[in-house]
Assembly symmetry: D2
Homo-oligomer: 126 residues x 4
Amino acid sequence: MPSSPSDPPPYSASEDPTTLATPPACIADFCLIPLGTATASVAREVAAVQRLLGKSGLSYQMHSAGTTVEGSWDDVMRAIGQCHALLHQNGVVRIQSDIRVGSRTDKTQRFRDKVEAVEKLLEGGE
Amino acid sequence: MPSSPSDPPPYSASEDPTTLATPPACIADFCLIPLGTATASVAREVAAVQRLLGKSGLSYQMHSAGTTVEGSWDDVMRAIGQCHALLHQNGVVRIQSDIRVGSRTDKTQRFRDKVEAVEKLLEGGE
Amino acid sequence: MPSSPSDPPPYSASEDPTTLATPPACIADFCLIPLGTATASVAREVAAVQRLLGKSGLSYQMHSAGTTVEGSWDDVMRAIGQCHALLHQNGVVRIQSDIRVGSRTDKTQRFRDKVEAVEKLLEGGE
Amino acid sequence: MPSSPSDPPPYSASEDPTTLATPPACIADFCLIPLGTATASVAREVAAVQRLLGKSGLSYQMHSAGTTVEGSWDDVMRAIGQCHALLHQNGVVRIQSDIRVGSRTDKTQRFRDKVEAVEKLLEGGE
């Protein structure tokens, strides 16, 4: 595709992108669903996940639709993968998780800050 | 595919499934992302969503990775669609949302109950 | 929060946002997960969903991680809700779906167009 | 919570779960959304992601709502993290991804197999 002065600069391709480091910080919210279990209740599995996260050293918070974890990309993804492994080890044959994960370079933000930022706007009557 | 005594009963096909009623209750957790906005901050958009939900009559709770809403499938999905419409009306050209939505027939559960069920297991030392 | 000349215009609040119409077009990709079923295989449930969509009149495409549907917000969300209802009717007690849904006002786009737009860039050697 | 003969066996807690290995295989489908970019079009960013995956050695397939990747948990999550890093390196300040990831112990399945399993049921007239 011919470039022109109005084209945005092409994505940098000089380095090998497969050697790039993953983000040093991210916030991930995951909802882990065990399949094929005896009952429709997943409270035991969710409790096991919470205990593993409690030992991971990462900051985390459970809410009604998932659990939010923050840390380096590698640490966070390892922890979620270990949650899968723990449930498999305990007889859960199949697991499907949904992970919402964000990274940003403009600021360091803890997950609690995100709610505060919105609440300030709501209080300000905007 | 030939049926045999060990096959599970086939899915019911006698009625027109497109006349089925949507679930009378569901819990949805959604994360709405505006694209192409001037800045990477989305706090103003999230605040607008909270105000709309406040007027919807539905029970809802914002957390750091999204907002949980409960009600009938139709009411919940209408509210989320109206959030999209509100932002479009205010100049946001493109919106991408992720919605985790659950329905169940074995019990009526409010979103706050889900966290309590897990906390009980954690306290019980299981 | 005091306004100043540099503040972005506040979100329009003159109309009742709960009377807003939902988007006339959207593209939704959903992954439906039945919980508490006898086996970890969900192929039968997914097949039932495909048949319902086939009768819905909406344009849809199944892929390995979900099904993409396009149409008005109301029609698309009704169809997904009916998928939940169909499975509940056939004995599935609990269902969790993840829906990625997008709406935009700058162009009308079919889901097939999205892949083509990227493929053109890849071919162009950008 | 007192145990009784009818209680399911408690989750194994004898080993340190934080030393568990992540799953040796998984299938992940991710949808990466850049925020705060100049335009609402994300085709350039998606193309950059496809090129990185092409060099990763992993099996992957782009569709209209995301990209499916398969491999070990660690390799897959590293690749997605590198996609974030690549876009940050090229000036995208904030990125939000949604990842649907599954692991199972009952069978080895490639993502193409999942669609075939459903198509067989549809052809069988079930």
